[in-house]
Structure formats: structure tokens, C-alpha cells
């Protein structure tokens, strides 16, 4: 089906509403889980996992990544690589400090 056709857009509008409901529900779940006082590592894992699901929903449906062209995924792949490196930097730094201390 043509992604710009009236029927497709009308169907998408219903999907947007469903995604919105899912995002609102997951927000409430995130807050509810924080009151369970889970161990720190488990709390971080659960909170980031829910955030990852919410972020994926926004990117896939609102930003139309589900139907996006290859070139956009190529840009995002490079971005993800550098982003992962950025987040690994603290771990590398900590490891260096630990080895220096020991």
C-alpha cells in the first residue's frame, strides 16, 4: 500500500493512539516499579528496559523508522556505535583508575 495514501494514514492514526496509550501505561509502570525499592542494579535494569521500550515505540511509530529507508538506518548505526563508545568511556576510565590504585 502507498504510505502516503488516505487509507494508510487513517490506519496509522489509530496506531498512534494505541502507541500513546502504551506510552502512558509504561510511564505509570516506571513510577510504580520505583516504589518497589528493588536492589539498585535490578532497579536500573528495569527502569532502563522500560525506557528502552518506550523509546523504541516513539522511534518506530512516531518517527516512522519502521518504514524508513536504508540510508537513515546507516546514519543511525554509526550514531549508535559512537554513542555506545561514549557510554563505555566511564567504564574504561574506572578500570584504569582501579588498576592505578591497586
Amino acid at each position: 500500500m502507498d504510505h502516503g495514501s488516505k487509507e494508510h494514514i487513517e490506519r496509522q492514526v489509530k496506531v498512534y493512539i494505541s502507541v500513546f496509550a502504551a506510552l502512558a501505561f509504561l510511564t505509570v509502570v516506571t513510577v510504580a516499579v520505583s516504589y518497589l525499592k528493588l536492589p539498585f542494579a535490578a532497579g536500573v535494569a528495569v527502569a532502563l528496559f522500560i525506557a528502552l521500550i518506550k523509546g523504541s515505540l516513539v522511534a518506530a511509530f512516531f518517527m516512522h523508522l519502521l518504514t524508513e529507508k536504508q540510508i537513515i538506518f546507516s546514519i543511525l548505526a554509526v550514531t549508535a556505535l559512537f554513542f555506545a563508545f561514549l557510554l563505555l568511556l566511564p567504564a574504561i576510565t574506572s578500570a584504569e583508575v582501579m588498576s592505578y590504585v591497586s
Binding site: 502516503g4 488516505k6 494514514i9 487513517e10 496509522q12 492514526v13 498512534y16 493512539i17 502507541v19 500513546f20 506510552l23 502512558a24 510511564t27 505509570v28 516506571t30 513510577v31 520505583s34 539498585f40 532497579g43 536500573v44 527502569a47 532502563l48 522500560i50 525506557a51 518506550k54 523509546g55 516513539v58 522511534a59 511509530f61 512516531f62 518517527m63 516512522h64 524508513e68 529507508k69 536504508q70 540510508i71 537513515i72 546514519i75 543511525l76 554509526v78 550514531t79 559512537f82 554513542f83 561514549l86 557510554l87 568511556l89 566511564p90 576510565t93 574506572s94
Partner: protein, 199 residues
């Protein structure tokens, strides 16, 4: 002298398959990921570098932040609905949804203002400690992005009619790009909220 024309702003480029405007917007968003990524990395470094770190909910207002999360999520859906309305050739609905998006963004900033005001009343500033330094930096930068989105969306709301009448495809593309930016702002908050307030 010939006038330089930017090509493929309303029709997909034959090589990339997307408009140059959309390609440019995604490249811009990639640079934004690195900007926020650097600050998230700094947050991790600061947090793991100390033996004790306060739980966000001890110092920050979780109910207000939850409200702001719901406001931003709602604004994201109204933003995409404004684009969908243009695709359905319903300019009136487009304007309505975009106006709601802007109002929700302003509501987000007002709530944030209350939150900041409360912190300042209790003499909690970025210089108070490392926790507040990273909190104000991350939320402040995000807030500036919200303001940027309001400015762009307000421009399209008040000055978009002429372009819609003369270049409807290009205008719909512009709203899609503005939407991509706005959803990115929402996406950043989706991660900021648990990281700063709930952990």
C-alpha cells in the same frame, strides 16, 4: 547569474530514497544524540565515581516529573497527528493539533519552572553539589530544546498557510522534519526521567 536551488526538498532523492530535508534532519539528530550522549556519559562517570549518590526522589519532585512526562508524550502524539492531518489534506485539523502541541510544550516549561523555582527557593543551585550540577545541566539543556521546538512549531503555525497553499508537499515534509525533532526531544526525556528522578 543563475539562482542556486536546493533540490529534492519535496521529492525523494533518487540515490538516497529520502528528501534532502529529511536526510539533513536525521544527520542533525545524530549530532544531538552525541551531545546528550556525552552528558549521559558524564553522569555515569560522576555517579560511579563516588561511594554515595542520593536517590533522585529524595531531592526531586517525582509527581511533577511524571506529569511532565505525560505532557510530553501527549505533545508527541499531537505532533504526529498534525502531520497526519496534512497528509489527509485537513489544514484546519493540522493547525489545531500543532497549537495543542505548542500549548503542551509551554505547559511542560511552566511545570519545569515551578520545579526550578522550588529548588532555588531552597537555595539549591547547580553549584550546590554534583547531583544538582548534572540535574540542572541535563534538564536545562533539554528545556532549551523544548523552547527551540516551540519557536519552530509556532513559526509553522502562524506562517505556514502560504506555503501550504503554494507548496503543500514541501510543507508536509517540513512538518515531518519538525516532528522528528520534537519526538527526539520526547525521547531524551523518556530516558532523563527515570535516570534523574527514579534511580
Amino acid at each position: 547569474m543563475s539562482t542556486a536551488v536546493i533540490r529534492y526538498i519535496d521529492k525523494p532523492h533518487p540515490v538516497t530514497g529520502v528528501t534532502n530535508a529529511k536526510l539533513g534532519t536525521w544527520c542533525f539528530l545524530a549530532s544531538e544524540v552525541m551531545l546528550f550522549g556525552a552528558l549521559f556519559s558524564a553522569y555515569v562517570l560522576l555517579r560511579t565515581g563516588v561511594s554515595e549518590w542520593p536517590h533522585g526522589s529524595q531531592f526531586l519532585n517525582v509527581p511533577l516529573a511524571t506529569l511532565n512526562t505525560l505532557i510530553l508524550i501527549t505533545s508527541s502524539v499531537t505532533m504526529v497527528m498534525s502531520w497526519a492531518s496534512l497528509m489527509l489534506k485537513q489544514f484546519g485539523k493540522y493547525r489545531l493539533y500543532l497549537a495543542i502541541t505548542i500549548l503542551l510544550a509551554l505547559a511542560f516549561l511552566v511545570v519545569k519552572g515551578f520545579e526550578y523555582g522550588h529548588k532555588f527557593e531552597h537555595h539549591h543551585f547547580p553549584s550546590t553539589n554534583t547531583f544538582y550540577a548534572i540535574y540542572f545541566t541535563l534538564t536545562g539543556l533539554h528545556g532549551l530544546h523544548v523552547i527551540g521546538g516551540v519557536v519552530v512549531n509556532a513559526y509553522f503555525l502562524f506562517f505556514g498557510k502560504r506555503m501550504w497553499e503554494t507548496h503543500p508537499e514541501q510543507f508536509a515534509g517540513r512538518i515531518e522534519c519538525a516532528g522528528l525533532y520534537w519526538h527526539f526531544v520526547d525521547l531524551v526525556w523518556i530516558f532523563l526521567f527515570p535516570v534523574l528522578y527514579l534511580l
